[in-house]
Symmetry: C2
Subunit: 338 residues, 2 copies
């Protein structure tokens, strides 16, 4: 299929005006679409309109005046394609509110990463419960929001079962600087983004303990093997896990201190306590919760995830960091790939 | 097979006393083996003995006095297991010199990364030509030498066809801080280490052009896809390419400026010319040559490697950096995994 065959959607609605939602709205605008960004709080809408920037989440990056900003959910939901960019734990609520407002057949692209803690559900499962009739897609990949907002080159996975519809969404959002790669592996595209936050905490601990770059590279590699085992058990395809939403996102998150999870891990590795670290932060790093949820999910599917389990033990069950590292290192020598 | 069944070799000979050879000798010593390190120049042997360090390649890291250092190749070759750690382009010569000195059946583990430029051969192919009777293994992975020398945690792939022999080598070299994962995929274990230097130059260019971390993560992901395509065409197994010698080494090299290839790319990305950069350096970054050799190898096997080809065009055929990046970004939107 070539671009000439594919008609983009004219109007994109972005639900959620955090850093990532705002950046995606700017990307859609840059791709040439009419774009409407919905923020929950009228004050936030007012501030963005007045300041011409999202001062709270993306300070210093001007908002194109062509971007429509609203607190009216029905107005945003009337667009031809919807991107839901609320935090992972609020996704189900957002979809429930959207359900009566969407026109039949409107595609809904989920852009939050994580596992729903109350249910252990992937984002697509949580959304499908509220939006049983809507075609559900997932957008995931190595994406610092500020870079996307600035128009720096970025590639993501766009996964949806209906491939002709997926091609339209790719054409709707894609530009020279923002490049979606189409996939039909909706499950696979969500596993990396959920698990990577736990592994990022592990990488941060390695950094805080000054264990070196070799150890971090080994951890990323063995961590990707854990993502793969879980993904395959859930029905994902290997190439998705080795792609932008898996390997790509893992690499980005684990090699940058821009990640809240990595910096939390570093603080832990430097010897500070979790309660002390969390006490100083406005937001909880997603990986703290995901580690607990993953233990349950991995157990249910009989998947071995020793690194994720170790991080859960450190974060949520008072395990000692040095003893945990020592016991990971003392495992018997193994065959690669197992 | 458990460690209890496997008898390590008593004595390890390391051929080549650069940073990596010296570090591997220290790792073997730390694993409890009698270890002998061979350096080509008697002056270098003298200096290491006198200074208690390898001041030229690993300054500041003390050499354990138990390490035997020699310029007598026959003495090192009399060990029970041999590691060859010469530069890639000198490997064939080193093996030719070793051939008459080895006892029959002595395993030879190749630790150099690259492609032999004159022949397009992998290291194992170049070695086998000189050592047709020796069991040939390959050691590769994410390894900064200084970290291994200091005993920081490191994991590598150890690939050899004869798996019981491989288990003995793993037991010989393995310790709590240095962990070899056994594989029988000798070809696969060499592909990542060869190609990564070219991709590291690409990552450096992205950094020099200030294109951001998203772009680098996408490049690592799409670059690993190129490694995989080439590896599979050469007969490698996917899990090797996704393991320590593939993904692991690629991640380490591409996310650190310790790599000569990355820093060369950064200088190029900042607008300096290749001749100017190379004029200031003592050693050529391996990726400059590998880029040319890879073009030939990929062509022969009908493998598509657009990023590696683009780097070859920039380095060796005068292509403009911005035009090359623009044409990579202007490729049509694609299906992930293809």
């Amino acid at each position: 299929m070539t671009a000439a065959d594919v008609v983009p959607f004219a109007r994109v609605g972005v639900i959620g005006a955090g850093a990532w939602g705002t950046a995606l709205a700017l990307a859609a605008l840059r791709a040439g679409r009419d774009t409407i960004l919905w923020a929950r709080e009228p004050d936030a809408v007012e501030a963005m309109r007045r300041d011409g920037e999202n001062a709270r989440y993306l300070p210093g990056i001007p908002l194109d005046p062509a971007l429509e900003i609203t607190a009216d959910l029905a107005r945003a939901a009337a667009a031809d394609a919807i991107m839901v960019v609320t935090p992972a734990q609020h996704l189900r609520t957002a979809c429930t509110r959207l359900a009566p407002l969407l026109r039949p057949g409107t595609p809904v692209v989920l852009c939050a990463k994580g596992i729903e803690l109350a249910s252990g559900c992937l984002m697509s499962e949580a959304a499908a419960a509220s939006l049983p009739a809507a075609p559900i897609g997932v957008l995931s990949g190595p994406t610092f929001a500020a870079e996307v907002a600035r128009g720096l080159p970025t590639a993501v996975t766009l996964a949806i079962k209906d491939q002709p519809l997926g091609a339209r969404i790719v054409e709707t959002l894609g530009s020279r600087s923002f490049r979606p790669y189409l996939s039909d592996d909706v499950t696979g595209a969500q596993v990396g983004g959920a698990v990577k936050n736990v592994l990022a905490i592990a990488c941060g601990i390695i950094q805080g303990r000054q264990l070196g770059d070799n150890a971090r590279a080994a951890l990323i590699t063995r961590g990707l093997a854990e993502i793969s085992r879980l993904g395959l058990a859930l029905g994902a395809r290997p190439e998705t896990l080795m792609g932008l939403s898996g390997l790509g996102d893992l690499t980005l998150t684990c090699t940058s201190l821009q990640s809240r999870n990595t910096s939390l891990g570093r603080d832990l590795g430097e010897g500070r306590s979790l309660s002390e670290i969390l006490g100083e932060r406005h937001s909880v790093a997603e990986g703290v919760h995901t580690a607990a949820a993953l233990g349950e999910l991995a157990g249910r599917h009989g998947v071995e995830m020793p690194i994720c389990r170790a991080i859960d033990a450190i974060l949520n069950h008072g395990a000692d960091i040095d003893e945990t590292i020592a016991s990971l290192m003392a495992r018997p020598f193994r065959i690669e790939g197992r």
